[in-house]
């Protein structure tokens, strides 16, 4: 049933759940429901940014369909004075602009929530326990936007104005955010949109008396911070890592990483004198090719990378095994989405944890970095290139759609403080001095052999790279002892690498008997859930955020310090827990419990808390 077929609005009863104290300040979520392709993104960003500029911690999550135009899309903003920026399960303020989803969206609200809606939708009859605000968007937009063609886009700015008035967002901050968003070159468009914001403010002032309890008030918790998507930060990390070759194939949610990279490299990585590129970015024919090119480039000495998502990783499997075994550096950024196959391509999941750790066939193990915020997307991209070259091996960065494509507050990205680590590469001069080398001999006791690059002008430089069994001199061998010696040395390399990974983060609560463990974006729900458990159920809990696989020695110690440890997974099959099972001693495994969410939305704290409480009650 369409919402517009509902009976005419009934006089709204007083909402049942009135706020204690009347005002809820800087602690609520706003959801804007629109139609994909209706150009609401700019309005939503302006709204989010202006709250951010008022110093209030905020996060913005775009819940969008896998189509270009016409399906429902939601943008959720959470403002939280305590800095909790995980998705909030409950929506406190709904902006209903989409006739398709309005009814369902309204029915899903908790009692006491507020709804701003497009007047013709006539939503007030649906429930009597909400605060309703109706605005005639079409009528309001006409006078401020004479060009009918543009009205579809501009009308979104009206709800920004209305919300500003209702929530107490400083119009000056809206103006600033809006002009920043449009930039110098689109001043006319900005003026037009600013007119719409003002029309919204005026309309609300004279027609919409405030009944809901939600307010934004200035704070000082965002000074100096950035608002940035994880993919953008990761792209910047690659650029500052000195990446020279990126080969990729478009796939949501990683495409915007490659596209951001192209834009930044074009600006900052052309030779100032010649204008020529100090990098190559190639859109390959498929992911088999993108990894193949990256591996070829890594073999020949480039800082090479590819970025993709689950389906692409599946196609890359054979090459990753070869690169592992032939010992070729390459960085693979996996912005995970919901699979298998196309699955829910615009929703988030941590579904490649297990797969990436052991991708390919035979004996393989790959290091994975788990960034949890834009700053780590940046620093870990740099770490990944260093690790790949130091250890001559593929290195994964497991991001997810939530991190990659949503907007996050972030500390400024820090300039790398150590030089690029290019690993063990012998030059012609080295070879002259040494008189030769054996590619796969462990001369330094760390499992890592020395390599040479193709094109090194020396008769002793060459070696033959192969996926077949080989000796220390890289010659063909099928001898069992050669095979075992080689594969054991590669395992040793993995042990050395373990000591070079970024350390985990942890919080040890006094007297805590339980611990929470998560990686990547699970941190936000994990940290908030810890506080919920403490505040609401009196259960003290510690947490550990893993930043890399292989797992750090601290993990074992953390588990030993607690009676039960809840491992948070954003997948059905408890992949992170499964990986821990493969690596940890039995007495640790026995303490592990699982918390899982796999609906495709960013993980929220309530879900984690409820699952832990249910298990704690069972004991």
């Amino acid at each position: 049933m369409q919402a517009s077929h509902q009976p005419p609005p009934m006089p709204a009863e007083q909402p049942q759940r009135l706020p204690r104290g009347g005002r809820i300040v800087n602690d609520f979520s706003i959801q804007v429901a629109t139609v994909n392709g209706s150009g609401s993104q700019t309005a939503n960003l302006v709204l989010m940014r202006s709250i951010f500029q008022m110093g209030v911690p905020v996060s913005g999550k775009n819940l969008f369909p896998s189509n270009i135009q016409g399906l429902p899309t939601w943008f959720t903003i959470r403002a939280n004075r305590d800095g909790y920026i995980a998705r909030k399960k409950e929506i406190d303020f709904l902006v209903a602009m989409n006739p398709e989803s309005a009814r369902e969206d309204v029915l899903a609200l908790p009692p006491g929530a507020a709804v701003l809606y497009d007047e013709p939708l006539q939503l007030t009859g649906l429930r009597s326990d909400l605060h309703y605000y109706a605005a005639p968007f079409d009528r309001l937009v006409a006078p401020v936007c004479p060009e009918a063609k543009l009205r579809k886009l501009v009308r979104n700015m009206i709800y920004v104005g209305i919300l500003a008035e209702l929530l107490g967002i400083d119009p000056e901050q809206i103006r600033k955010a809006l002009y920043k968003q449009f930039g110098e070159r689109k001043k006319k468009a900005a003026d037009l949109n600013w007119g719409a914001v003002q029309a919204g403010i005026d309309y609300a002032r004279s027609n919409l008396p405030k009944t809901d309890p939600y307010f934004i008030e200035p704070m000082d918790r965002t000074a100096g911070k950035l608002v940035i998507e994880g993919n953008t930060a990761a792209a910047l990390g690659c650029m500052f890592a000195g990446m020279t070759v990126c080969t990729w194939y478009p796939i949501t949610p990683s495409s915007s990483l490659a596209e951001a990279l192209m834009a930044f490299m074009e600006r900052f990585r052309r030779d100032p004198e010649t204008g020529k590129a100090t990098y190559a970015i190639v859109q390959a024919e498929d992911e088999l090719a993108s990894i193949g090119m990256a591996v070829g480039a890594g073999w020949a000495g480039a800082r090479a990378m590819t970025c993709t998502s689950g389906p692409g990783i599946s196609l890359m499997s054979e090459f990753v095994g070869l690169a592992y075994f032939a010992e070729i550096p390459v960085v693979i950024i996996d912005v995970q989405r919901v699979g298998p196959s196309t699955g829910l391509p615009t929703r988030t999941m941590q579904g490649d944890t297990l797969k990436n750790a052991v991708l390919s066939h035979g004996d393989t193990r790959h290091p994975i970095l788990f960034p949890s915020c834009p700053e780590e997307c940046f620093t870990m991209a740099i770490d990944a290139f260093d690790l790949a070259e130091q250890f001559q091996t593929p290195v994964f960065i497991n991001m997810d759609l939530d991190l990659g494509m949503n907007l996050w507050m972030s500390d400024p990205l820090p300039y790398p403080d150590k030089p690029m680590q290019r690993g063990k590469v012998l030059t012609a001069e080295d070879l002259e001095r040494l008189g030769g080398f054996a590619r796969y001999r462990d001369v330094d006791g760390d499992g890592v052999g020395w390599r040479t690059l193709p094109g090194t002008p020396h008769p002793k430089a060459a070696y033959f790279t192969r996926g077949t069994g080989h000796t220390e001199q890289a010659t063909y061998s099928e001898k069992p002892e050669d095979w075992i010696r080689n594969i054991d040395r590669i395992a040793r390399k993995f042990e050395t690498l373990r000591k070079h990974l970024p350390p985990p983060a942890q919080f040890l609560a006094a007297g805590a008997r339980i611990g929470l463990v998560g990686a990547g974006t699970s941190r936000y729900a994990m940290e908030e859930s810890r506080d919920q458990l403490s505040r609401e159920a009196g259960i003290e809990a510690s947490w550990m955020r893993l930043t890399a696989y292989p797992f750090p020695p601290e993990l074992e110690a953390f588990i030993e310090q607690h009676e039960r440890v809840y491992v948070i997974d954003q997948n059905r099959d408890a992949q992170l827990l499964g990986l821990m099972r493969l690596d940890l001693p039995a007495h640790c495994i026995a303490k592990l419990r699982s918390v899982r969410y796999y609906g495709g939305l960013p993980l929220d704290a309530r879900t984690v808390t409820e699952q832990i409480l249910a298990q704690e009650v069972q004991g």
Binding site: R269, A280, G301, A462
Partner: protein
């Protein structure tokens, strides 16, 4: 006992004898066409006086793909993944566009599992020499038909191929390779000249070399056997290659031969046989291939040649130094750049 002094080994223009151009001992079957191609490659690089270390050899998987181990001992080699050498080779050239890359592939490697990469490599005109050692079967997996097997060709078991073949030369011409040739592993003279021209060419050179598999596809009823080639090889022209450093007055008769100057100043002389063939005419090239196929003949020679098509690394506008060797100052933007970027996101 004679006491003649040992003659010093013959050396090429950079003073090297054949040893650094050779590889390890072949493990392929005696008489395999692939071995002959390896021999021609050794000669070609030696005769051209190319520094072995400047070459990168790449391959997929198959008997043919093993051969990079059997030539140019002093060049880096990469025997990678089945069908995907175009990708590793492209990547290697992105990292270092000064490398002289050569890919050795098989008909299975190129025309089946790797066809996707092959056609995109063509389209990009990646500057490398790409040799398809074409025996119409999968040698390494013991003789199944490949996608270049001719319609009606017979396997040893008697099985008849019911499908039309993929002609890698047709694809090459159609999709953008700037040098397309076909030859026969048994034709020493022609193959040698074509390989040298391909090495001298700036751009993608695709060479389809009919290379009989003596173990699985050299019997009666095979269209990739020595006997079949003896009867059906139809050279387009006689090919002479004159390297840029040769001190020879090139002298030919207009109408009898064509002369093409290659990128490095080397010259290619194509002597007229039955007809005067112009390899720069793409439409004509496609025509003669189709005609020959209809007649059941195997057209050999330089079928298509375009000397000034931009290569992939040129199109990308890469800086002169290999990307792989750029120092940190050139690949890590300065602190101020990051400060500026941070400011943009505030």
């Amino acid at each position: 006992m004679s006491s003649t002094p040992a003659t010093p080994p013959k050396v090429n223009r950079i003073g090297l004898d054949l040893a650094p151009y050779r590889g390890s001992k072949t493990t392929l079957c005696a008489g395999c066409g692939h071995n002959a191609i390896t021999e021609r490659l050794i000669e070609a690089y030696w005769e051209l006086g190319i520094e072995p270390w400047s070459v990168a050899k790449l391959s997929g998987i198959g008997c043919s793909s093993k051969t990079p181990a059997y030539f140019l001992n002093q060049a880096h080699g990469f025997n990678g993944v089945h069908g995907r050498a175009p990708t590793t080779a492209t990547g290697a050239l992105l990292a270092n566009h000064r490398l002289r890359a050569v890919v050795v592939s098989g008909d299975g490697d190129t025309a089946s599992i790797g066809i996707g990469h092959f056609v995109h490599m063509l389209r990009r005109n990646v500057p490398l020499v790409y040799i398809v050692e074409n025996n119409g079967v999968y040698g390494l997996t013991k003789g199944q038909f490949s996608a270049t097997a001719d319609l009606g060709a017979k396997l040893k078991s008697g099985a008849v191929n019911p499908l039309h073949p993929i002609d890698v030369c047709l694809l090459g011409i159609e999709l953008g390779a700037s040098f397309v040739a076909r030859s026969f592993s048994g034709d020493k003279r022609q193959l040698s000249a074509i390989l040298k021209a391909a090495i001298a060419h700036n751009g993608l050179a695709v060479i389809d070399v009919i290379s009989p598999c003596v173990t699985f596809n050299d019997h009666e009823g095979s269209t990739k056997s020595y006997a079949y080639m003896k009867d059906h090889d139809e050279p387009l022209h006689e090919v002479d290659f004159i390297p840029f450093f040769a001190d020879i007055e090139v002298d030919y008769e207009e109408g009898e031969s064509r002369m093409v100057e290659l990128h490095d100043g080397s010259k290619l002389l194509l002597h007229k046989l039955e007809r005067d063939y112009d390899p720069s005419n793409r439409i004509h090239a496609l025509e003669v291939l189709h005609e020959a196929a209809r007649r059941g003949e195997v057209l050999t020679g330089i079928i298509y040649l375009e000397t000034n098509r931009p290569t992939f690394t040129e199109i990308l506008g890469l800086c002169d130094e290999p990307l792989a060797l750029l120092p940190q100052e050139r690949v890590r933007p300065p602190r101020e750049a990051l400060e500026q970027i941070n400011e943009e996101f505030r």
